[in-house]
Symmetry: C2
Subunit: 207 residues, 2 copies
Amino acid sequence: MSDSPPPTARAEVVNAVKNALATHGYAGLTTKKVAAESEKSEAFFFYHYDTKDDLVVAFLDWAIEHNRDQLSALDDDPVTRLYDALDFLVGDPADDVDRGINVAMMELLSHAPHNERFHERLTAYEASVIELFVDIVEEGIARGQFEEVDAHDVASYLVVTANGTAGAAMALGMHDVDAGVRRELDRYLRTNVLAPGVTPPEGVLVP
Amino acid sequence: MSDSPPPTARAEVVNAVKNALATHGYAGLTTKKVAAESEKSEAFFFYHYDTKDDLVVAFLDWAIEHNRDQLSALDDDPVTRLYDALDFLVGDPADDVDRGINVAMMELLSHAPHNERFHERLTAYEASVIELFVDIVEEGIARGQFEEVDAHDVASYLVVTANGTAGAAMALGMHDVDAGVRRELDRYLRTNVLAPGVTPPEGVLVP
């Protein structure tokens, strides 16, 4: 990579890459399309980023930080945090940018076996999201709000299920699948994770 | 597309596309690489298939039939069928071809929003797999082996969870995630789907 852009410009770059990925996917991404989503010229991008993958890596590094911040800033109560975090992770298929980003992340994941830089970032990202759910589950057990479950198994299971909605619900637009998954996730959490008598927040995860 | 190849050649073509996709992914696929996986010459492929996407569509059409046949041929008992079907769908990250195909399917899914032919085939595929699980669940309820669950919600949820393992477990090689998901899927099925007293087959899904 050439010289990194200053921090204020970085935010603009990341936002442009995000929107370009959401619209065109990784395969359709070009520096020209990224520049079209920003106030900066194409020359600016070429000055700071040698390749399309440099732009994507800059976006991934930001996305990992950003999602971690978003998820860490959630309500302190483990039950509310669990539902809010899952709702965030399942994503909103009606939101075009959210949908585009989820599908683009799936595309980048599919390149991970052939792309060491993507592999490194995406593994760090998945591990950090799972760790965040482990923390929520352990806190819920400690407070007696959750059953004595295996926190890592539950966390892995929830993250994988949320990731899986990107295929049928986001990429294919099968909205009934999204609705069914949300209802069944809620049923699983009530039966297998929450302690008896503990009720989840209303209107989160299941509208 | 040009003239379709005869049925015996079709099987060879599909196998070559499958292995080439497993090794190189969709982005890295070329007719040359497909031909390298087969006894046929590159000229044979160019004669029958105009573009790379024609080869991929031929593979998808076959994969839909094949997976439906595989899943339909499973044991007649709903409990055993449910576990066998899920085990098949979650896939085996230690099997390179299975892993490659799962990751390639994820890549093709990510192209569905921009590729009408992939979108059509993949939607038909996902719908048929969900329908197969709906049939298993309804049969299990009718025989009193399953709880009175919403068959479509449960089917969607199981298929999405299985799909989701392609990301962390298959593309990133996070094997502990695969193991945790299998254990938690088993716990979910025992608690939320199987009727009290019904036990799943041993060694399936959870080794």
